[in-house]
């Protein structure tokens, strides 16, 4: 019963709740939305125990949707998507609670959109039919577009349309590529179906067109990751979005790109993706992302923008880990995807909280506030250290695994990537020092109030996550391992795994 219905419930429940939220008067909206998202989380939690790490898809549901074209409603999770689904349901209640006092107008619409967004994001991670995947991929664009455009900062219109058009370009070309794959498989087998397994097993011998198809998928996912030089939408969108929007953008939306590479672009076109040219290009672009993202973050006067650029760097590590294709590196990449959701999410929450008090995100507007708001300063320190990847925090486990695993495949690139960790320490610690230490010069900061109980409720689960993964990551790694291993074996025959240059 649970196994048959859980994913469908996860997809439908937020939609129903969003309709209720829209119908209710605005002041009730946040309570109902919070309750709905907590229920959503509760539905998803048993996945953690009932999931059997065997490398295959589980909780699969398969129902015809548009039978004439072989389009099915097919959903399921494996060790890769499980954590992304859980991360989504985990961050949503926190995002809603974190918007409590930030969102003051059109509350009903805001919370309804957040709930629709939840469905869309989970849909992207669980779809096992490429048509369904495409629909979900696009559908989650609209709520985010409105969240940025209606509730965002001063420059929100520009940021919203930039976000929309960047994503739209990539995804539409991906749609054409999906169609070409579909027809190729249909010609080979006579079966018209968008099922993931069907297209995967018939994606061989595509010939030179595989390069174009990979290019289309690559563009869609690389924009989402974002890979340098397609990252320019990200700082705008992150900075202009309201706190919850930034948290979800960084925490979950960016992972759709890396997830797409792992689920679709690599398995469908291994010959292209692992050709010398593409490997070199991806590694160089990831390295640029890591180092350039860090260096640009270093000079940002705006703390929110600094975090935005740090995302570019973190996701560079993920890309490196995925392409290195060793067990450690892939597991590490998956772990960074989760860690980044938790740590960067927490950072965005903290910026949002201090912004609500002082209405400034500029680093120089603060200084010495550790004495005024000790609780805030303490949590900001812990979260920053986890983002820097200090041992004992979650960030360390992920980046260490990626660097360890990638060294076997790309030794030089890995050494260069290590400098990215140092750059991260440089920009985050400097910012930390300028915000909470240094002398207290601005008199406005003397009146700051410390975190309220509501804000602590938002932050404590994130802190718990940081420490749990930092100290005892085994339950996570255990559940990822079979799927990561399956991915690697699918792409590289077992004999050649060790022998790669």
């Amino acid at each position: 019963m649970y196994a048959r219905g859980v994913i469908t419930a996860l997809l439908i429940w937020p939609l129903l709740a969003s309709a209720v939220v829209l119908l209710l008067p605005g002041r009730l909206a946040k309570y109902v939305a919070l309750a709905a998202s907590v229920v959503e989380f509760a539905i998803s939690v048993p996945l953690w125990w009932t999931f059997v790490p065997d490398g295959g898809m589980q909780f699969v549901v398969d129902k015809p949707w548009i039978a004439a074209w072989g389009i099915h409603y097919t959903v399921g999770v494996d060790g890769i998507s499980l954590f992304l689904v859980l991360l989504t349901t985990f961050l949503m209640p926190l995002s809603i609670l974190g918007s409590w006092s930030y969102i003051t107008r059109r509350e009903g619409g805001f919370y309804a959109l957040l709930l629709v967004l939840t469905s869309g994001m989970i849909g992207v991670f669980v779809s096992l039919d490429l048509f369904l995947f495409y629909v979900m991929w696009e559908v989650m664009l609209i709520p985010m577009y409105f969240i940025i455009g209606v509730w965002g900062g001063d420059n929100r219109l520009y940021a919203a349309i930039k976000f929309f058009i960047y994503t739209f370009v990539g995804s539409l070309l991906m749609l054409v590529a999906i169609l070409v794959l579909y027809l190729h498989a249909a010609r080979a087998t006579g079966v018209y179906s968008f099922a993931y397994a069907h297209l995967l097993s018939n994606a061989k011998d595509l010939g030179p067109i595989a390069w174009w198809l990979f290019g289309a998928f690559f563009l869609a996912f690389a924009i989402k990751v974002p890979l340098f030089p397609l990252h320019t939408w990200l700082p705008d969108a992150h900075v202009e979005a309201p706190t919850a929007g930034s948290v979800i953008l960084a925490g979950i939306l960016l992972k759709m790109g890396t997830y797409g590479f792992m689920r679709f672009a690599l398995p469908f076109f291994p010959a292209v993706a692992l050709s010398q040219t593409v490997q070199l290009a991806i590694v160089i672009l990831s390295l640029i992302g890591i180092i350039y993202g860090g260096l640009v973050a270093m000079v940002q006067p705006d703390f929110k923008k600094l975090i935005a650029y740090s995302s570019v760097a973190h996701l560079g590590f993920v890309m490196l880990g995925i392409w290195a294709l060793t067990l450690q590196s892939v597991q590490g990449a998956l772990l960074i995807m989760i860690n980044h959701g938790i740590s960067t999410g927490a950072l965005f929450f903290l910026v949002g909280m201090v912004y609500e008090r002082r209405h400034s995100r500029l680093i120089e507007a603060y200084g010495g506030i550790a004495r005024v708001v000790p609780l805030f300063a303490g949590i900001l320190t812990i979260v920053s250290l986890s983002s820097i990847a200090l041992p004992g925090t979650n960030g360390f486990v992920g980046e260490f695994l990626v660097l360890l695993g990638s060294f076997r495949t790309y030794p030089i690139a890995t050494v260069l990537a290590t400098t990215g960790v140092i750059v991260a320490a440089a920009y985050l610690l400097t910012a930390l020092q300028r915000i909470i230490y240094n002398p207290l010069t601005n008199s406005e900061n003397e009146k700051l109030t410390d975190l309220t109980p509501r804000e602590l409720v938002v932050l404590v689960p994130l802190l718990a996550g940081i420490l749990w993964i930092g100290i005892y990551p085994k339950p996570f790694l255990q559940r990822m391992e079979p799927s990561a291993r399956a991915l690697i074996e699918q792409l590289r025959p077992p004999s050649s795994v060790a022998g790669q240059p």
Binding site: I66, V139, A160, A186
Partner: protein, 503 residues
């Protein structure tokens, strides 16, 4: 039900929908001659017109339900699923136009019930076009439709722009008809017949006629003639001014019904008569690319909503031309699905626009919609759905239509054309999204900005029906797809051996 057109009874049955509508048009003419003074007369005429469209739709449905088809002999009219589905599109466009016209005509003081009679004649012409299995019948239908629409475009005769629209449309339309007629003459000269099936048989059997200059010149002139009616670039010059100047409900009707009718006839001519020729696929390829790129780029720079929608309808003609270029059964099905989706979203968008504007709506800019969502949330929601559907966003009928066209194009091996289609769709986000942004993300300029925005009960009914249709077909298009699929296979070249079959 198999019909033998040599028997009178069967011939009348095959023409049943057209006969029903003709009878209604005569009744309406008499009624209008008798009562044409008060707004009440106008309303009664409107409802009679609505009843005419509904009853004709039922007659069409009856023939479809009984699987009426013409057997064996060479006929001047076709009876197949393609015709019935196309008829429903025209009748639906006509009925929706009636619903949104009630309040508009009274508001703009256009108290002439002849408006509705002309609407009926326009739809009748479209139905004849879709039914024609002979170039002469198609031309007859085209003229009947065109003359009615020329007058409709100039209906607001006190307004200079409307008069200009009518005159422009008439002059250029007359030229286009001339091209078409000359094309028919040349085709007749090359094959000795105007019957679509016989032309196809001639062109298929006689290898020499493939390179016959006369036949190819005739085909080219036919394409030019139809190109004017569907507003394909470079024959689109009239479209923005005419769409802009005509009364808004008429603009919606022209952008959907007239365009769909011209496309329906084009599909029939190209597939049944020239299915064996490959020449037109290349011509259509270029026409599609030019129209998509041109329409979208011109629309991008428009400030006025009505003009933007006019250019956007040019862009949509480009998407439909992709289906033409793909050809075959799947191209024809794609056309039907897209035309239904396009009719819904375009009429919805124009209906909401006319609630906002005054005096022809030409001066409503995109920025004038700022803050509409706070004052009129449902209207804003409706327009947002129409815009997203025009953009081809998943969850709307527009996406399903675009998707069908993409599948037709890729299965015909036209991957590049499919890629151009999606890239130009991205460009279209540059003018559809600002409408949504204005409504939802910009503040109301002042409290009185949207005071006079009003949509009457029937306008609201039409918009609600359209929005529900868009969302329903966007999520559950199965019935629509089945219908289009069966209808698409009926428009095929007469000789099966040379049919253009998609893999």
């Amino acid at each position: 039900m198999s019909l033998d057109p040599s028997a009178y009874r069967d011939l009348l049955l095959a023409l049943l929908p057209e006969l029903v509508l003709t009878a209604w048009s005569l009744v309406l003419l008499l009624f209008v001659a008798w009562r044409h003074q008060t707004p009440r007369d106008l309303r009664i005429t409107g409802w009679m017109t609505f009843a005419a469209f509904v009853s004709t739709g039922i007659a069409t449905w009856w023939l479809w339900w009984n699987r009426a088809s013409v057997q064996g002999v060479v006929t001047m009219i076709a009876a197949d699923d393609f015709r019935w589905v196309a008829d429903w599109i025209f009748l639906g466009a006509g009925a929706l136009t009636v619903l949104v016209s009630f309040a508009y005509l009274e508001r703009e003081r256009l108290l002439a019930p002849e408006y509705y009679v002309l609407l009926v004649f326009g739809v009748l012409g479209m139905m004849v076009m879709a039914a024609g299995a002979d170039l002469m019948v198609i031309f007859l239908g085209l003229e009947l439709m065109s003359v009615a629409v020329y007058v409709l475009a100039a209906f607001d005769r006190r307004r200079a722009r409307s008069a200009e629209a009518g005159l422009k449309y008439f002059l250029l339309g007359a030229f286009a008809s001339g091209f078409l007629l000359y094309g028919i003459a040349l085709v007749y000269g090359a094959t000795g017949t105007t019957n679509l099936g016989l032309i196809g048989a001639q062109a298929g059997v006689n290898e020499a006629s493939h390179s016959s200059v006369m036949l190819l010149a005739g085909l080219a002139l036919l394409i030019v003639g139809f190109g004017f009616k569907i507003a394909a670039v470079p024959f689109h010059m009239w479209a923005p001014d005419v769409y802009d100047g005509a009364p808004t409900p008429v603009t919606g009707f022209m952008a959907t019904g007239v365009k769909a009718a011209a496309f329906a006839a084009l599909f029939r001519v190209l597939n049944q008569s020239f299915g064996t020729l490959s020449t037109w696929h290349d011509i259509m390829w270029w026409l599609a690319v030019l129209t998509m790129v041109g329409g979208n780029l011109f629309a991008l720079s428009q400030k006025s909503v009505k003009r933007m929608l006019a250019y956007s309808s040019v862009a949509h003609a480009g998407y439909l031309l992709v289906a033409v270029s793909a050809g075959g059964a799947s191209g024809t099905s794609a056309f039907l699905v897209y035309a239904i989706a396009y009719t819904l979203m375009t009429i919805g968008a124009f209906a909401i626009l006319q609630a906002k504007g005054r005096a022809g709506e030409s001066d409503v800019t995109i920025d004038d919609l700022a803050g509409l969502s706070t004052r009129h949330p449902w209207l804003a929601f409706g327009l947002a759905v129409c815009m997203l559907s025009l953009l081809g966003f998943p969850g709307t009928a527009g996406f399903m239509g675009k998707w069908y066209i993409l599948i037709a194009a890729t299965s015909a091996g036209q991957n590049v054309l499919a890629a151009i289609l999606v890239l130009t769709s991205v460009v279209s986000a540059g003018y559809y999204l600002p409408v949504i942004m204005a409504m939802y993300m910009k503040p109301e300029p002042d409290e009185t900005a949207h005071l006079d925005v009003r949509l009457d009960r029937w306008g609201r009914t039409a918009v609600a029906a359209v929005v529900l249709g868009i969302l329903l077909f966007g999520v559950w298009p199965n019935r629509l797809f089945d219908l289009a699929k069966s209808a698409g296979t009926t428009v095929q070249p007469s000789s099966a051996t040379t049919a253009v079959t998609p893999p």
